[in-house]
């Protein structure tokens, strides 16, 4: 155990000031200290990508980042995607195209895809496949995830 530290960052626009051990991962801080359990932990060693969130608009494995490293950062998680009842185009596309089964990897894929499409709205399919290969899904076989992201990209360009 070690001395707790004060950390302040925003999550989905809300300011969070928390006091935590330096060893606490950003994922655990989001889930346990901020109460946002939409970010899931699938491996805690940076392979599966289920815990992907956006930190200052970059997709990040929140299991591999210490929460103290997020001091002053702007964090976005799956809970911040929808505007009230209106789903984000990516959420809607995953629903429309059966892009999820058990739904455990879904928040990570959504945040990864948001990061990809915000950076490159016109991304071509081969590059998109390459970028989506950062995350693991065990249920869907990926093709409906790809279909969903392509459909959302079209929608978001409108």
């Amino acid at each position: 155990m070690s001395e707790r530290q004060d950390v302040t960052f925003t999550v989905n626009g809300d300011k969070h000031a928390i006091r935590i051990e330096p060893r606490r991962s950003l994922a655990d801080a989001l889930r346990e200290d901020c109460g946002l359990t939409g970010t899931h932990l699938g491996c805690e060693h940076g392979v599966c990508g289920a815990c992907t969130v956006l930190v200052d608009d970059q997709p990040v494995r929140s299991c591999l980042m210490f929460a103290v490293q997020a001091e002053g950062a702007r964090v976005r998680t799956v809970e911040g995607l929808a505007a009230g009842d209106k789903l984000h185009p990516l959420q809607q596309a995953f629903w429309d195209h059966h892009g999820l089964q058990c739904g455990f990897c879904t928040p990570g894929f959504l945040m990864l895809a948001v990061g990809i499409l915000e950076r490159d709205p016109d991304i071509a399919e081969p590059e998109l496949r390459e970028a989506l290969s950062s995350n693991l899904c065990r249920c869907t076989g990926y093709q409906n995830i790809l279909k969903s992201v392509l459909a959302a990209a079209t929608e978001m360009r409108k």
């Binding site: 999820l100 058990c102 739904g103």
Partner: protein
């Protein structure tokens, strides 16, 4: 318009998309303790003691448990396929006397913070005297315990005159084949949150999955509690695949600790633990031979295999071995048959079922054999399959043995018809010509087929209660479980179809033992078949009742009424008086309820075919699956989009099993595949578009909807099809003898080829 057969969007998706799902780790209750399990670092040894003084001295320690603390709790029993004599091989909840695999629980620590619980667990020091581990399932049996062999059971299934078949054979084809250890590895690890309710005396276990009702009974019995003092609750489940939701030591420890410490206890598995502690599967060695006539007709099939069970026999008993024996003959007539499966204890993580248990293995062995037979006799593998198929006119077709306690009677099927339609659909002739042309140009590309018979819809029963509430909502209470496959949507479709209502009013309950007394859960591709049938019956009953009450209220004969847009109207005067569903329930005095039970002692047998096209890179021996096709007859698809989703997902797992996934152990029994960087699951980069052709030509007479299961169709023959495609690519039929086909193994195979063929 009927809702059955329509690809409606899933009812369960919205919370999952918005981050408001409730998976095991998301469950938090006040005053919670966290459990951390201390695990054996040694594959096999005598556990002579545990030093726990330092752990006890830690200021955060609430308790440290060793085997002595749980001596009154019996080992975990068998849910399926028990055979006599297995009891000595059951797993204790904490190792007692010996450790039998790396990862075996040997102690449990409890603290108020999960990080601290890990710190404390690190202070527990076991004293283990290492013994020589047993790692090869096919080696001579050894002593498991005094007077107990590592051969826990031998399963034999046989019929016909095998000797005559082999004596009179035109040729005998023999193979030795190895299937690697791999498993479901769902993205969500296991978890258990046990909450003792002081006010009611009820112990509630959250994080349940797959078989909550069975586990409730087992836990109550193990902990000495009356059944009505234990309830299990399933939240969202991050993938099942056979391994999640079985009763494991950690579930029992969590519940026992909650009772004894008087506080809620939470345990969330980490990924390292998952890869050494949760059920593994598949690992087996087969020695198979077939007697054939000159046309490639299989006169007799004789298989002996050794199943690598791991350190203990878990809840599945000998299910995997039993199903392998039972499903090996598959779609072929095979007049004489014998399969002998040895269940062998080894010092590795114990095994259970993984999606398509027995069928993935059996299909690999059988379809390998058929391709080698075709090659040996200079025949087309498609022709050899046609010559051996059980004819459509021979249905129903009985095998002279049982599986999972049910007689094997293939209910319906037209195997040759499916293969013809499928080959036509995929453009087989063109595919073959393209591959031949590319091979001429120097590429190593190939095609491989695998045909399979699946089984689905295991009974013996399922109960359903449908209640129309006085607010017009319809609750469908089931004993099913949801592991992410779309249960709520499919059962709501069936219910809405039966009642004539829309989907919007229907809420499907599953996995809650305090809502329904009995339930079989979700395994063996059973939910749509079994629970779906019970919903069909209950919905018909409720509709009759609904119309009877509405008839009284509207003073109209029930047969003149119809349900349209959640209202009951007079059929020939739809714009006249009508009643909202809620008003009918209120008119009946509150709620309207219908109960139904569907029972069966038979399974349904869907069937299908996989086709893989692969490319091998000569220098690196990398294998790329370029195209993957699945043809499947599901009897009747309630929601084709979800059926395809099941098949595509299964196929991706099958590609992983064929090329990537393997639990590797070193010579001392140390597991080498303990992170997701070592145990390789396919990413999108390894998975091509899976092209699915669904057929509904052979509905089953065994249930009211005619449906067969779809959960395991995508994976069943993937190993077989990819192995054959790799053979074809390297120009050596039968070359692949081991899964997964890693680059190293393929390199070794290519080195066997004469230089000119490399």
């Amino acid at each position: 318009m009927s809702l059955i057969g329509r690809s409606v969007k899933r009812l369960e998706d919205r919370p999952l998309l918005s981050g408001s799902g409730r998976f095991a780790a998301d469950v938090t209750v006040p005053d919670m303790l966290y459990m951390r399990v201390v695990r054996s670092p040694i594959a096999f040894g005598r556990l002579s003691g545990l030093r726990i003084a330092e752990a006890l001295a830690h200021p955060g320690t609430i308790a440290v448990w060793t085997a002595e603390d749980v001596a009154d709790i019996p080992p975990i029993g068998f849910r399926l396929t028990p055979v006599p004599g297995l009891e000595p091989y059951r797993q204790p909840v904490l190792a007692n006397g010996h450790v039998r695999y790396v990862g075996e629980p040997i102690a449990a620590v409890f603290a108020a913070d999960p990080y601290m619980a890990e710190d404390i667990a690190d202070l527990v020091a076991p004293a283990i005297e290492p013994l020589e581990p047993c790692l090869d399932p096919a080696a001579s049996p050894r002593e498991f315990a005094p007077g107990r062999s590592t051969e826990a059971a031998v399963i034999t299934k046989a019929y016909g005159d095998l000797d005559t078949a082999f004596t009179g054979a035109h040729a005998v084809v023999a193979l030795e084949l190895i299937i690697g250890r791999h498993s479901g590895v769902p993205l969500e690890t296991r978890g258990a949150i046990a909450v003792p309710e002081a006010a009611t005396g009820i112990l509630r276990l959250y994080g349940a999955a797959k078989v909550p009702h069975y586990n409730r009974q087992a836990l109550a019995a193990m902990l000495g509690l009356p059944l009505d003092r234990v309830h299990l609750h399933e939240g969202h489940v991050g993938g099942g695949f056979g391994i999640r939701g079985e009763l494991y030591p950690e579930d029992v420890l969590t519940c026992a600790a909650a009772l004894r410490l008087g506080r809620p206890v939470k345990w969330i598995e980490d990924r390292y633990e998952h890869l050494v502690a949760a059920n593994q599967s598949r690992g087996s060695v087969h020695r198979v031979r077939a007697a054939v006539d000159e046309h490639g007709f299989i006169l007799g099939l004789d298989d002996e295999f050794w199943f690598d069970q791991g350190g203990y026999l878990r809840t599945h008993g000998v299910t995997v071995t039993d199903l392998t024996c039972a499903m090996l003959p598959g779609p072929y007539t095979i007049p004489a048959y014998r399969s002998v499966g040895h269940v062998r204890l080894t010092n590795k993580t114990p095994c259970g079922t993984y999606r398509a248990p027995g069928r993935f293995e059996a299909s690999f062995v059988r379809e390998r054999l058929v391709d080698v037979i075709a090659h040996r006799l200079g025949l087309d593998p498609v022709v050899v399959r046609r010559r051996n198929f059980i004819a459509k006119t021979a249905m129903p077709f009985r095998r002279e043995f049982s599986a999972l306690g049910t007689d094997i009677v293939y209910d319906t099927g037209d195997y040759a018809g499916l293969l013809d339609k499928f080959l036509d659909r995929v453009g087989w002739v063109t595919l073959r010509a393209d591959v031949a042309r590319r091979r001429q140009a120097g590429e190593m590309v190939g095609l491989g087929l695998g045909f399979f018979v699946e089984k689905s819809g295991l009974g013996p029963f399922d109960d359903v209660r449908i209640t129309l509430g006085n607010d017009g909502t319809i609750e469908v209470i089931t004993g099913a479980a949801s592991i992410g496959q779309g249960v709520e949507t499919v059962l709501a479709q069936i219910c809405a179809d039966g009642l004539g209502t829309g989907l919007d009013r229907i809420r499907v309950i599953h996995g809650q033992t305090d809502r329904i007394a009995r339930g079989m859960g979700a395994f063996a591709s059973r939910v749509t078949v079994m629970t779906g049938a019970a919903v069909t019956i209950a919905a018909a009953k409720l509709r009759g009742e609904l119309l009877r009450v509405a008839g009284q209220l509207l003073q109209t004969a029930p047969d003149r009424l119809a349900v349209i847009a959640n209202r009951v109207v007079v059929s020939d005067a739809p714009s006249g008086p009508s009643l909202d569903l809620g008003a009918i329930a209120r008119g009946a005095g509150g709620d309207l309820t219908a109960d139904a039970t569907f029972t069966t002692d038979r399974m349904t047998y869907p069937y299908g075919v996989h086709l893989a096209q692969v490319r091998v890179q000569r220098d690196s021996c990398a294998i790329t699956v370029e195209r993957f096709f699945v043809g499947y007859d599901v009897g009747r698809a309630v929601n084709p989009m979800l059926v395809e989703g099941q098949i595509v997902g299964g196929a991706a797992q099958g590609i992983g099993a064929a090329l990537l996934e393997e639990f590797v152990y070193d010579a001392s029994g140390q597991p080498q595949s303990v992170t997701l960087a070592d145990y390789l699951m396919p990413t999108i980069a390894e998975i091509p578009a899976i092209e699915v052709s669904l057929f509904e030509d052979a509905p089953t007479p065994l249930n009211p909807l005619g449906v067969k299961g779809a959960g395991e169709a995508g994976i069943a023959a993937a190993g077989a099809a990819i192995a054959t495609a790799v053979d074809d690519a390297v120009g050596r039929p039968g070359a692949v003898r081991q899964l997964p086909i890693t680059p190293n193994r393929l390199h070794a195979l290519l080195a066997e080829l004469p230089a000119a063929e490399r």
